[in-house]
């Protein structure tokens, strides 16, 4: 219990918040690594998920790859990439972003293709028969209707990446993981625990923010009360 109180005291100390190695700066770094990984992950997963969801092809492939990627141990992969890429510590952000982006891919991919998949067939068929081109079906029908699920996937991915981004510190990068790693090496447990609490708090804040976005992207007409079904 003393350790927790000490950690909270450490967090409450304004001196720990300021400066280039302070909590504020580290939080921004942490958010930056997370955002970068999410963008890279989305660039890979979203178009692929849209293709799979729209055409119905490659679903088995996606499920298999997602499962395999999920099973990769992040820290091991990070070490392997850092060593084998030989970019040096100056470029440590490259292997770290790859590892974190891989973590984001399965959630984003699954959310995108299931989002497209749950658009009713008769809605897509009706749009096609009315004269929507395939691209217009994707952009104006499937995407808006899939967006709430896709943002749900982003939420899951963001949490996972944000929590795991602590391992970037292992390669000498910044982020909130610094406090945990540095605290460990000098047996400064309040600092270590304080860093962990900060990661948890940040995760909750980001989760809440994306939840709001998720509510906002639900198209009108989809969540409104259903009226009488007979004329």
């Amino acid at each position: 219990m003393n350790q927790v109180i000490a950690a909270l005291q450490w967090l409450a100390d304004g001196a720990n918040w300021s400066g280039p190695g302070g909590l504020l700066a580290r939080t921004w770094e942490h958010l930056w690594y997370t955002a970068l990984a999410l963008v890279v992950g989305a660039v890979v997963a979203v178009p692929l998920g849209m293709y799979i969801g729209h055409t119905g092809k490659g679903r088995t492939f996606a499920v298999g790859v997602s499962g395999a990627v999920r099973a990769l141990p992040s820290l091991g992969l990070l070490t392997l990439l850092a060593v084998s890429m030989g970019l040096g510590l100056g470029w440590a952000v490259v292997p770290s972003t790859i590892v974190l982006a891989l973590l984001a891919v399965p959630s984003l991919l699954a959310a995108t293709y299931s989002g497209f998949d749950q658009v009713p067939d008769d809605v897509v068929d009706g749009a096609r028969a009315t004269g929507f081109s395939e691209l217009q079906i994707v952009g104006r029908v499937e995407l808006p209707l899939a967006l709430p699920l896709m943002v749900g996937g982003l939420r899951a991915a963001a949490l996972q990446v944000l929590a795991t981004a602590t391992i970037s510190a292992y390669l000498g990068l910044g982020g909130l993981g610094r406090f945990i790693l540095d605290g460990l090496s000098v047996s400064d447990y309040p600092r270590m625990l304080g860093g962990a609490i900060a990661v948890g708090g940040l995760a909750l804040a980001v989760d809440g923010l994306i939840l709001v976005v998720q509510r906002l992207v639900v198209p009108r007409g989809v969540h409104v009360a259903v009226g009488p079904t007979d004329a």
Binding site: D125, G126, T130, G131, Q136, P219, G221, G227, D230, A231
Partner: protein
């Protein structure tokens, strides 16, 4: 005008959906494809707007062979109404109706003005314009579906069991309404249904189809009723239920079927009472 010339459709697994089908629907006429589910009637209809490609044979609309036309442009000039409505759930009624003019490059203002006209034509109140499909009744949704199909002022309307999912009272209402607007609009309509009464009510020409879209009989409703081509047609259109005679009961002259069930009241003033 819609013309099918020796059209065939065989699926890769060998199922024959359509075998050597030919038909000409003259302009401004309503032709009905009548058959049980799975007989290939919807497949035939979807060949007109290239939602299905025939394995061989040609479909023509007016002077164009549809296979020579770009499918997307072709679909924008043909109205399509489906059983489920197929409306976009995330767009308001007016936006759903304005869809095709907007896709065709109309301004939003012009497309909405056109959509408003159409909502009036299909008998929907102004208040419906801002609502979403999930807030409409089944009958209203079908009217919106028809309005959307008419938005680009197509010559041809394809209607795939458009009133199949609404209750009988609303269905009767919609059928009467369709006849009424067809008087005004005079579109070339290909109508698909499995409902015999609906087919005879709406169709100037009715095709009774067997499995494989084989034409069992083609003719006006009167021709089919008077001279069913064979047992299949006879049974399909209701068998002996269609053989009516009059009988006097309690001083009133009734129309009665072969099994003695009353089908209606005779109001003909001449003849024995």
């Amino acid at each position: 005008m819609i013309r099918f010339e020796h059209v065939n459709k065989t699926y890769p697994d060998g199922t024959v959906a359509v075998a050597d089908f030919s038909l000409e629907v003259p302009s401004h006429q309503v032709a009905v494809l009548l058959g049980s589910s799975g007989c290939g009637k919807t497949t035939l209809m979807r060949m007109v707007n290239r939602m299905v490609e025939p394995t061989s044979g040609d479909v023509w609309i007016d002077d164009d062979r549809v296979s020579d036309l770009d499918p997307v442009k072709l679909r924008r000039r043909i109205g399509y109404v489906m059983q489920s409505g197929g409306l976009l759930p995330h767009r308001s009624t007016i936006d759903n109706v304005a869809t095709v003019p907007l896709l065709g490059g109309s301004t939003r203002r012009a497309a909405h003005a056109r959509a408003r006209e159409l909502l009036e034509l299909v008998g929907l109140p102004e208040s419906v314009a801002r609502r979403y499909p999930s807030q409409l009744s089944g009958g209203q949704r079908q009217r919106v579906g028809v309005a959307r199909a008419l938005a680009a002022d197509p010559n041809i309307l394809l209607m795939d069991e458009p009133f199949g999912a609404v209750d009988p009272v609303v269905r009767n209402e919609l059928q009467a309404w369709l006849l009424q607007i067809q008087d005004e609009l005079a579109k070339t309509i290909l109508f698909v249904t499995h409902d015999v009464d609906e087919a005879f009510l709406l169709g100037q020409e009715v095709l009774v189809l067997r499995t494989g879209a084989e034409v069992a009989q083609q003719g006006t409703p009167a021709e089919i009723l008077l001279e069913p081509a064979d047992d299949f047609v006879h049974h399909f259109i209701g068998g002996s239920r269609r053989h009516l005679h009059t009988e006097v009961r309690d001083g009133r002259r009734l129309v009665v079927d072969a099994d003695g069930r009353v089908a209606g009241v005779a109001t003909d003033p001449t003849g024995p009472a």
